[in-house]
């Protein structure tokens, strides 16, 4: 009975989304207050209904109602309780339900925290979100219904993909979706502004915290995905340029560009058209990401089962949303007024450079992701571009970005003598180079990468500190939450650079056959392979290795990497043993038995690998802190 209730809730939500899409937009056009007033209640009602549907599906999983096909396909009676909750979004249908729920949360939040905006604007913003919601709910109900019954009900279900039976998986998709979907707010705002034909600085100030929060969540989501791949896939890497990773990375890059461009437009009135276009692009790329993951167009470790009817649906939706937005953009944007003029040496120019570099990076990721498809379509054969392409182009585009970064905050708006920020930063540039040189000569291996990591990271960190210092130096300068957020995010980049480049340069990797009792020494570390035993988990059988790790001849940790064979599908998953540390991880993965007592063991020593995620965390925190700036709230109080 309950699943049918969930079904009804979904259908009602679809109808209400239809109302929210049509009435407020039409009302804003015709000036009918009654029609516009539909928007807010419709947003709350959708949240209520979708929350209900989500709870119903969760109950079906927890009580193991195998008469629901989606539950039977993705869980069985051996599945531990915590994964019954996470299995709700473990496959296509449920994750799409989560997506629509997250959209409803944003929708209701916009309805709630937009009291300061003119009624006409908010009616349009909510109307556009209603249109998007309508599209996704139709997609959910007509092609991917999670409440379809399976009668007669099977006695036992299949299983949740073992890769997803993991703690990281509990929070990774929701975070990612909050970020992805959050870009709907600046997008809807852009469309509203284009329909209206003007961009009011006050409305723009209102959208900035939304963009920052969405971007912060997206950052966390991507970082969690990377962390999950690091310890769950057992390859020791943290980023693979996999199509699905790229799908989340593209909106992130454009979102980062959008944050900066919005700041310029809000404060100086420049880049209006560009800001609107970036907001459209950020959300369009989120949709494109959803399409790439769910259509099966590209092959990836993450993708859901392929189904051309689903792919076609999302594609049409994508075409309507992006095509419609672009047509509106091209028709309306020439009418927008221009902002204050600026010279070639000004903060505007630096932020323009930031935007150009970030957008180019995104275009290059898009090209690399779609290139195999393009090559196939043009009959050039089956080609895939891998890390070499992405690595090289990324290096080319990100190096100038990182080098220019410290100048941005120190340069004045509109016009600046470049000698002033250059003078301020010169000593720190020298210090960064010296540190890089020291790193070059002390690194045991990967000298260039280590030196580059230390030098660029020091440059960004010192430049950011220099900015702090100049703020505190001069009296009467306020230090706002926005500045603190920027400092944190830029500091996060410095921390990330250390992690990303030092782990590249200093990573030690050994793969060898070991027999029990054998010891391997790597630098200060020694690894003694003790034994293996069998372990019975709730829904798997594991072979567990015991590896004693010693540092400077003192016992450090006993690592227990496992190979798990899951009962249902026979898939074998590796669980790596990690001894985490601020300055580096020790990572041991268990390989196959090589006959007799010998076993393949893979050992990595990964210096500073945690700094990658720590840096991402700081960036996300920066986004959140910026969003709390008083100025944004003041804008709302002014009615």
């Amino acid at each position: 009975m309950l699943p049918e209730l969930g079904q009804v809730a979904l259908i009602l939500a679809l109808l209400i989304a239809g109302l929210q899409a049509v009435l407020p937009l039409a009302g804003a056009q015709r000036g009918k207050a009654g029609w516009m007033a539909v928007a807010r209640p419709a947003a709350y009602a959708q949240l209520f209904l979708l929350l209900g549907a989500f709870v119903v599906l969760t109950v079906a999983f927890v009580t193991q109602d195998f008469s629901v096909k989606y539950v039977a396909d993705n869980s069985n009676s051996l599945l531990p309780m915590v994964y019954r909750y996470t299995a709700v979004w473990g496959a296509h249908e449920g994750s799409l339900l989560l997506w629509t729920l997250v959209l409803a949360v944003w929708n209701a939040a916009v309805a709630e925290f937009s009291r300061g905006l003119p009624e006409r604007v908010i009616a349009r913003v909510l109307g556009v979100i209603g249109l998007i919601s309508l599209g996704f709910l139709a997609f959910l109900i007509f092609t991917s219904n999670p409440f379809v019954r399976l009668l007669p009900a099977p006695l036992e279900g299949r299983d949740l993909n073992p890769l997803l039976q993991d703690v990281g998986m509990i929070i990774h998709p929701p975070m990612l979706y909050i970020g992805y979907v959050g870009f709907v707010v600046p997008f809807a705002f852009s469309i509203a502004a284009l329909i209206d034909g003007s961009v009011d600085a006050r409305w723009l100030r209102w959208t900035r915290p939304w963009t920052n929060i969405a971007w912060g969540f997206l950052t966390i989501g991507i970082a969690l995905g990377s962390w999950w791949a690091y310890y769950e896939l057992g390859w020791g890497g943290w980023w693979f340029w996999d199509p699905v990773e790229n799908a989340s990375f593209m909106p992130w890059l454009v979102g980062a560009a959008l944050l900066h461009s919005q700041a310029v437009t809000e404060k100086r009135g420049s880049f209006r058209g560009w800001t609107l276009l970036l907001a459209i692009a950020a959300f369009s790329l989120s949709l494109l990401g959803a399409f790439l993951v769910r259509s099966g167009v590209l092959t990836s470790v993450h993708s859901f089962a392929a189904d051309p009817s689903r792919g076609l649906f999302v594609l049409i939706f994508l075409g309507v949303v992006i095509g419609g937005s672009l047509v509106l953009y091209v028709l309306r944007v020439p009418r927008l007024e221009q902002g204050a003029p600026f010279t070639a040496t000004s903060r505007e120019t630096l932020l323009l450079a930031n935007n150009v570099l970030l957008t180019c990076a995104c275009a290059m990721v898009l090209l690399g992701t779609l290139y195999p498809l393009l090559a196939d379509a043009l009959g050039l054969g089956k080609i895939s571009v891998g890390p070499p392409y992405f690595g090289l182009l990324f290096l080319l585009l990100m190096t100038p970005l990182v080098l220019l970064l410290p100048f941005g905050p120190l340069t004045r708006w509109q016009r600046e003598e470049m000698s002033r920020p250059l003078r301020m930063l010169a000593p720190w540039a020298v210090l960064a180079l010296v540190l890089g040189a020291i790193a070059y000569f002390t690194a045991p291996q990967g000298k260039w990468k280590t030196a580059a990591g230390v030098a660029t990271s020091a440059w960004v960190a010192l430049g950011t500190l220099r900015f702090l210092w100049s703020r505190f130096q001069s009296k009467g300068n306020r230090f706002t939450a926005e500045m603190l957020g920027m400092t944190l995010a830029h500091g996060g980049i410095a921390v990330f650079l250390i992690g990303a480049l030092l782990v590249e340069g200093l990573n030690v990797q050994r793969e060898l056959a070991m027999t029990p009792g054998q010891t391997l020494e790597i630098g200060r570390y020694a690894f003694r392979y003790e034994s293996v035993d069998e372990l019975r988990g709730p829904n798997y059988l594991a072979t567990r290795g015991h590896v004693q790790v010693m540092r400077d001849d003192k016992p450090l940790a006993m690592l227990n990497p496992e190979k798990r064979a899951y009962a249902s599908g026979g898939q074998v998953m590796s669980e790596v043993g990690i001894y985490p540390g601020v300055f580096g991880d020790v990572y041991v993965a268990l390989g196959e038995s090589l006959g007799g007592q010998a076993r393949a063991i893979r050992i990595h020593i990964k210096p500073f690998v945690r700094w990658i995620w720590l840096g991402a965390g700081l960036m996300a925190l920066g986004g959140f802190v910026t969003a709390t700036d008083r100025r944004f709230r003041k804008a709302e109080d002014k009615r």
């Binding site: 092959t299 051309p308 994508l318 944007v333 020439p334 009418r335 196959e592």
Partner: protein, 196 residues
């Protein structure tokens, strides 16, 4: 929509029109490409490299048997009935993944299952079979990988279906799964048997 007032001519109109055309072309191109992608997304094995051998006679070989190195075995001896040839090596981790799947299918005796041991020291290959089980009717050993070149084998695991007349019917690169057996191998096998 209300009638918009005619836009005042901005000095940038030309640039905006140009940008608009570029964006439109890019967008149409992207949509076309994605549409193509959707259309082919349900084709099985769309990312497999096409084998030029499909529909052509299987290249002959004359290789020693793994278990009796003194004895040689020629492909011609398999004529008459279809057979499946599975390329593997003890050095190949993917082969261990597919091994239980292959063993299960080979046990059904639906078709003759030949193993093709590629670039493997003999002891390693034998130990591997002892450990994981030997589902093959016989295993030929290609230690240097010379014959593999004729077959266009560039790694392991790969699996071929050859019909009774010695024509290659189907090929799969990468680990076999139950689904591939059910959806590709068995239909191809049935077709080969029907046409005999």
């Amino acid at each position: 929509m209300s009638q918009p007032a005619p836009a005042p001519k901005s000095p940038h109109t030309g640039a905006f029109v140009f940008a608009g055309v570029i964006i439109a072309l890019f967008f149409i191109g992207l949509m076309g490409l994605l549409y193509y992608g959707v259309q082919r997304s349900d084709q099985a094995g769309r990312d497999a490299l096409p084998s030029p051998l499909i529909g052509k006679p299987a290249p002959d070989f004359d290789l020693p048997l793994l278990h009796e190195p003194g004895k040689r075995f020629a492909l011609a001896e398999l004529r008459g009935q279809p057979f499946v040839m599975n390329v593997w090596g003890s050095w190949c981790p993917e082969c261990r993944v597919e091994h239980p799947v292959i063993s299960k299918f080979a046990l059904t005796k639906r078709v003759r299952f030949i193993g093709y041991n590629l670039k493997d020291p003999r002891e390693d290959a034998l130990r591997w079979l002892e450990q994981f089980g030997n589902p093959y009717l016989m295993v030929v050993a290609d230690e240097e990988g010379r014959t593999a070149i004729d077959w266009g084998i560039y790694g392991a695991p790969e699996t071929f279906l050859v019909d009774g007349k010695g024509i290659v019917r189907w090929k799969h690169v990468g680990a076999i799964t139950d689904e591939i057996i059910a959806k590709e191998l068995i239909p191809a096998l049935e077709k080969a048997e029907a046409e005999k």
